[in-house]
Amino acid sequence: MKKHYDIVIVGSGAGGGTVANSLIPLKEKGLKIAILEQGPHFSHSFFTQREIEMMRLFRFNGAWPVKSGEITIAAGQGVGGSTLMYTGVSFRLPESVVEEWDVPGLTMDDLTPRFDQIERDIHVIKPSERMVNDNNRLFKQGCKRLGWPVKKIPLNVKNCERVGFCNLGCSSGSKQGTLEVQLPKAIQSGIDLIANCEVIRLSEKTVHAKVHKAPPGTVDGQWPPGKITIQADIIVLAAGSPGTSGLLLKSGFKQYLPRIGRDITLHPAMTLYGVYPKPIVNYRGFPKTYYTDQFTNSHGYFIETAFYYPFVSTRHMGLWGKNLSEIMSKYNQLMTVLILNHDTIMPENRIILDRKGTVQVNYNLTETVIKSLCHAQIQTARLFFEAGCELVIMPCSSSPVIHQHKQKELEQLIKAKHFIPIKTPVSSAHPQGGCAMGKDPDNSVTNSWGQVHNFPWLFVADASLFPNSAHVNPYLTVMALADRVADRIKKICS
């Protein structure tokens, strides 16, 4: 099958959905636009709040390992991309990071009105007291006792029913991801959305793809299964950080643009648990309402509240045997936080293709990151004990379960030497970089408007554009950059 469009967008997450939404004026002028999404189109009724059934919202069932196996990446797979299964955290890119990135033309003056508009569109709010559950209340209490600043996390939710299953798809549609906001507007304007459409490679103004049959329980696609060639005057890649770089590598662009796949960061994260003396039922209410940036500047990490379901929690704890049974028997007493490390680009970390042509993330944790993760465990243990927990689980401790009476020995117990790659559970939900913005092809892949150097018909509009870590949860930044990309396309088309 052959098709022709004026503009084709690959991916429907924070980047692709926003580009589509921002290009509606071009659609209204008569241009033909399509969004190609590799994953299925899930309707609200698909989201059953059961973790084993919802694994299919994630690539590799939620555990996509980097090449070394040290980190597993959680990335969404479906219409809405990772906004399907994120918690709705909507931080603005800090000014200090904009300055550090030093991308010509990318300034706070440019970004601020975009953040303002997007926050209105996706309904970003500061959570009300009604949304704060016991875990979050105890977090705030612990931070205050330690003298740490506690801040509310900006969230994009509307009429939230506080059922607590945000990471398994929002069945009520309260979470204002691209599935709820940008994509419905784009579709209503006449932009085509093609789900289950796997893009195999690109050539000059052409997308080579394969449409798969819609999996059971998902929305049927409008194109029949089979190979398809789509010609387009403009192609926008928004397939996510490993996905976009991988597609360019598969398509042979590396010979023209040596930085493809380089300059990646992952925000290595650990989910940590403390056992409170009585039930706190973290799995009802909104999971994430507070964070502290006490150690952002000094040690490079945030501590955010969190919540995960039973099976995923066992992955984070790194326990087994009697310790696991003991802790899981108190599942409804668990305090939970997420530590989010602000890693930085390293020459050896990059997106590559293996011998079979499969996309892989080659990433090794540095000594600096491991030390930072250990520092974060010590501070989180202090926080849990201040909040009233009787024991804590710290994977980098000589003995991972630490009782309250040992709280003065935390620095002796938790040490980098106890970090064993793969055994110590580290995850990532924020892959960034691989097609960095910059001045020229020697040090970047695109210009500051996401236009690929020397290929004026090709754009990137996702977290691949980040030249270094965003330090904060990246979705709002991805949307703002995607809006800039759409501006440049509109200028070209007019």
Partner: protein
């Protein structure tokens, strides 16, 4: 009736023995080494990409055969203490493939145990609010609810 495709014979014995070590009967939790746990693992293996499935099944066989170094017999016939000793070695092995394999084995066993409703009351988990929302996959729903017979 759910017929296990992959977890049978020595693999079933290995998974059940490993699950008894990973999730022992303790603190009010029942032991993990049941046919019900193994059946959910079997379903999950069926969802894997073929290449990963082959690697994982091979690893289960390696676990069983490696028992010879920890007590002179296959893993499932080792004493409980020797089984623990072998798993601890794999978890912290200097060889990354063993650490990766152990993490995979542990994670699939925990999936097979903690996603089954029968065990939720032991951990005081109330489960989904939309309890009766129809499943996109009837088999796994029935396996997790204990509403289907299992044959291995």
């Amino acid at each position: 009736m759910y017929n296990c495709k992959y977890i049978k014979g020595h693999r079933l014995k290995t998974i059940r023995a490993a699950a008894n070590c990973i999730i022992p009967e303790h603190a009010g939790l029942s032991s993990g080494g049941t046919l019900e746990t193994a059946a959910v693992v079997d379903w999950a293996i069926d969802q894997m990409p073929k290449e990963l499935r082959v690697q994982f099944l091979l690893f289960i066989s390696i676990v069983n055969a490696s028992g010879i170094f920890f007590g002179g017999r296959p893993f499932h016939r080792l004493s409980y203490q020797d089984q623990i000793r072998q798993l601890k070695w794999m978890e912290s092995s200097p060889l990354a493939p063993f650490r990766l394999g152990f993490m995979g084995l542990k994670n699939y066993i925990c999936m097979g145990y903690f996603t089954r409703e029968q065990n939720w009351s032991d951990i005081k988990y109330q489960g989904p609010i939309l309890y009766d929302q129809p499943s996109p996959d009837d088999i796994i729903r029935k396996l997790c609810q204990g509403k289907i017979g299992i044959r291995s």
